[in-house]
Symmetry: D2
Subunit: 312 residues, 4 copies
């Protein structure tokens, strides 16, 4: 992720700015503001703005009049209670805004979270940079044999080299042809005066899905947690999980009590179906339960045994 | 709107608080923060927190890297362009949070705006205060003869007095019975030890719809403008319009360029149907157009003539 | 719930109507269409229209071209998989529309579910009927001593009678005054020609919160399940649970495979936090775990023991 | 758009299916059900299911009890009134579900409409077909000189040929490499047993943005109209407009009265700002207004003169 001199100056100015405010302010998050956290080979995520803190969640839950004067440990207890019982509205009272640079095929997964506000860089209006995602060698995985939407072992040797070469070469070729079709030089003038240049809104179709785009993405804390619970999960595709993990760090700086409760009651939690709970009760009563008589399918049985840390 | 000593102290503390921030900060809105603006007889609206400013709208539209370095008049032009062409996403990048105290029948209109985040004081969990809305004499209007959902002339004399007496007396009686059924003294103990007291979630059903409730209401700027375009409009019920007008003042302090564009392109704008536009073109061409040959219904004709400032 | 002769005729006509369609059609739900299911003393819920069926969920999950040709038991397995892993979008492909008559204080809880489409009877435009909710004797419960938003034992004897009398009398008095202030006879003419009558949008504020209102409420299946998981739950207020339970019956007629999976994986399921799961693993390993060394708060410990069916 | 034999059979079965229903049914839309309407070179849009009709809008607006017995011309008048005054909730009472096949770069524009329900074919789970969009010669336009996000004249001769050749060749090459990296034969077995094959979730990143994807897209009528007002507009990119126009035809078959009102009050309508309205009033009063003294910017002046059909 290389910034242009003009971007570096903008960034320095934004970081140097100081104002006085009466709003709830979180020094640990202020220290991170504007700073891009690198993700993948050319991407980043950075916090642009935020509203609220742990206390704002508590205050909304109490619809109290002031800033809240209870002891911090009471606040922590209330936040844990709200998280455990899946109360959502108090968490909606905090808001955060990110600037994200990410490959288009990841943007397509991400945008499925419909409750956020999004402003994406427009390739209809502007020209995209020559940047595309190429997986690191340890991420170049084979198709999983057991999971139709997962990865298996890492490709090795000639196959790995061949795949990387194809990805790099195709991204470079299609980008070069994109630029050629646009026919614009750096000043926006025709590179070749003999040609008109294809409209930007058409030329972009020649780019591959690993081309980087960027957007502003703003969401409330409740929906951020929902996003993170799906995307920081082990079943998420690695490339989006890398972003979610970078965002987890801003969550911890911003609302530490919420982040702790989120880890305990959401990320690390398991949900047992009625039948699974019945099996656990029977096991606790000392009964020897087998899959056959458990009321669970083989797949459910395997999932349960894994959660309980027992051999299936 | 009388605050308790404890609320006044909370308010004073919130207002005295100062922190340093690198976030976009709007001094004119900071000066208003936390301060309740009285609305109706016991209600208020006050800004609790906010995110973003005029420049944040511009920055999102440009997905630029820094805080935006263009001249202010270019920013104003872009904001006007975005408003004129109904671009919505850049306005979603700003957020504001209000604390509102309002009569329940107005809360029921307000909540129809589904995109906001809301935390309401819970009458299932807590006890509502003995406060209810009574219209000022100049608001005690008769049913409109021409508009099934509007007001006509103001009631006078004996009828006005009678109506006000009924409203006040019924609100007081039902509240007193609510308290009696609850059977709780100020310490939360049974007022009459011989009775158990009705559950709060049931007792509340005895209150009238002019009882005051309160909530935290948080929305992005785009949806705030949508709310204001409907509720600061002359066709809105007076009681909700009073809140919308108080919120217009916070809008002007917060995002003056957006507020100006909103007045020009939304509040003061008119939409002409295809047929109405055809009539305007014919009139401009010097043709004498009558309702009969206009392609407009009588109602549409009347609406158009009103907008054009011509006698119908 | 008494219908007027005109409503009964409309109902009979709607039920007699038959058309041929190529859309997915569910005979068991067709048999229920339009028929009001009584809820509480004057309320009802009835299905007005629907789109999709169990197969539509499967079809969306597969984005298949036709109606889906797998065997029914494969469909059931896929639906259970989707429910277990909290996939939401395939369930959004079905839609249902209800007509509901309900007390206003319940409508205020219900409307918090913001994703539905709602058209409510307008008391700004029309006049509400003289119908209000009075709890049945077995629902007239005291405040719970342990749960600030719950009910305790049922009120008995003189207190119960007194409470019911207050509720009935206040609802009747406030309604009578509402009608008096409106000053309209059945033909919409002034009842008392000497008075103008108060505007409907104002007079309504005199009604108590147990007055019945009605609305059309339309939602997709995913959000219906979310509504039911909260409102058919034992912690929900009885009055809204009564509606949720009536709606559960339409769910079972409409999408039986989804309803079954919903009961197993949502209604009957429990979520264990990371710490709770650790306790279960230790118990299964034969360890004697006490609350003190469990990492759980007393409240969490009590909740867990209850779920596991063990003495706390 | 070539269907496989299995798809053709599914389609034939879906079209042959008939059931009896008591739901509102629209014969003109039934006749279109399931039938793909070709759009662009390989895309289509087809209606899969629907709920409601013109009368359902009216019924919701009246929250009437039955199917509605007013004369059709009264219904039309009410629908026009609702559309003119931007009432949205009655239109939300109808729902429609489409199956759409479209190029990915168009899917990325389309998905910005966040209120719809979407199930997209998953390239993480499955393998995409070898189909990509190539513009017809008359759509191969140059960048507009005046509008940064628009098209200018159509490319001719050698440049047109060159552009088309690049687009075709890059799409074919990247698809071939995608297939090569996947290394799966038609039975899902390794094409080359010496290689493992790259995970599907990674290989897809090599595809170009004109590759076709498909999804189920379900929305209520209000949000469909919003989509159409933006995407059937002359400023929309041609490729998405082609879909919107195909959907307009299903709108007209489904809800003819709504479609007519939509054309008059939305598609063919113009919105005049406060300043524009002032200019129109002055012009109607016979005043000679110039841009200089109009209070309008040059750009606004040009837009207004265009709408009024006058030379700028």
């Amino acid at each position: 992720m290389a910034l242009t001199p003009s971007q570096l100056q903008d960034l320095a100015e934004a970081k140097a700015f100081r104002a006085e405010t009466r709003r709830p302010t979180v020094p640990a998050l202020e220290a991170m503001l504007f700073e891009p956290v690198p993700v993948l080979d050319h991407g980043f995520v950075r916090v642009i703005d935020y509203m609220g803190d742990d206390a704002a969640v508590v205050q909304a839950a109490r619809v109290s009049y002031g800033r809240g004067t209870r002891a911090a440990n009471e606040d922590r207890g209330l936040i844990r209670y709200l998280m455990r019982h899946r109360h959502s509205t108090p968490f909606e009272m905090c808001e955060i805004k990110y600037h994200v640079k990410l490959p288009i095929f990841i943007a397509r997964q991400w945008i499925r979270h419909r409750t956020a506000n999004v402003n994406e860089y427009s390739a209809r209006y502007s020209i995209l940079d020559r940047e595309f995602y190429l997986p690191a060698p340890e991420q170049l995985a084979a198709q999983s044999a057991s999971n139709r939407q997962g990865r298996g072992t890492v490709l090795q040797g000639a196959e790995a080299e061949h795949v990387l070469r194809l990805l790099r070469q195709d991204a470079m070729t299609t980008y070069d042809h994109y630029a050629e079709m646009l026919n614009e030089d750096e000043a926006g003038q025709p590179a070749d005066p003999a040609r008109q240049g294809l409209a930007r809104e058409l030329a972009r179709m020649n780019l591959t899905l690993n081309t980087y785009t960027q957007w502003y993405w703003k969401t409330d804390l409740h929906n951020l947690l929902h996003f993170l619970s799906l995307r920081a999960d082990a079943h998420a595709q690695y490339e989006i999980r890398a972003y979610a993990e970078a965002m987890m760090r801003s969550l911890e700086a911003w609302v530490p009590a919420v982040a702790e409760a989120f880890r305990d009651y959401r990320l690390g939690a398991v949900t047992l179906s009625a039948q699974m709970l019945a099996v656990v009760r029977r096991l606790l009563a000392g009964e020897a339960v087998e899959q056959g008589g458990s009321g669970l399918s083989k797949r459910e049985w395997r999932e349960l045994m894994e959660q309980l840390g027992r051999p299936a």
